[in-house]
Amino acid sequence: MSTPFDPRLFLSFGKRGHGGLLGIDYHDHGPDWCTLQLPFRPELIGNEESGVLASGPILTMMDMATSIAVWLKLGTFRAHATLDLRIDYLRPATPGKTVFGRGECYRITRAISFIRGQAHDGDPDDPLAHVAGTYMFTEAQP
């Protein structure tokens, strides 16, 4: 039996990649979910007029949070690729606020895992985005 999947350790490996470029960091996790945080930075702005965060960084955070949720539910890391990801933008993020992204894995089959999640900027009951998607394991079942 391998060591249980540790999201903090996993995120520390990725500091030089895209998550590190955006400043995405660990916040919290449970048996089948993980919450990450994206502190506000002017470089992440998608619309200079309004100062609102671009949607790309939120998409990246939700991709990472939901991937980690899969490995938490699985109990171990297993390489996978995103098949599809849908994101609904419920409202703009408040300029200056840290955005939190909670990803959950609700089903894993032999080849595919199914995920969903929400992003908010302080109040989980007032989400700013909702995501749903699927991942496919890139190697055959061991």
């Binding site: 030089r16 895209h18 470029l21 470089e43 992440l44 200079e48 949607s55 998409l59 990472m64 599809d84």
Partner: protein, 128 residues
């Protein structure tokens, strides 16, 4: 065409050719990397969104101007993005009074071998 700060962070540049929607280019570097050897899906998604908004803004500017607000995006990842240059272009499939539907494709080796595609819906607020 001026790109937002987030596009600069991704390292994007834009090429304008007459009669075509803007072509976005994202060079490969460590900051857009996901798992070793591959682009991060989020970086590909971000590139697709910038390409879609650029195409829509160009179409809207030619049709009286206005602002756009994203409603939703669905992204299909068809091939792993490798450690090389990626291009993307948006295509406005419908620009209505209140809603616009935009598709975007991202590719590396050839435009007819896309690595990802996105389908996006935007709310359009017409006028200046």
């Amino acid at each position: 065409m001026k790109l937002p700060p987030y596009a600069d962070l991704l390292g994007l540049s834009v090429d304008l050719e007459p009669g075509l929607p803007p072509l976005l280019t994202m060079p490969f570097r460590e900051g857009v990397m996901g798992r070793p050897g591959f682009l991060h899906g989020g970086a590909i998604g971000g590139l697709l969104e910038v390409a879609a908004i650029a195409a829509l803004q160009q179409a809207l500017d030619a049709d009286g101007g206005g602002r756009v607000k994203p409603i939703g995006v669905t992204i299909d990842f068809m091939r792993g993005g490798r450690e090389k240059l990626t291009r993307a272009r948006g295509l406005v499939t419908r620009l209505g009074t209140r809603v616009a539907n935009v598709d975007a494709l991202a590719w590396q080796d050839a435009e007819d071998r896309p690595i990802a595609r996105a389908r996006m819906n935007y709310l359009v607020v017409r006028g200046g």
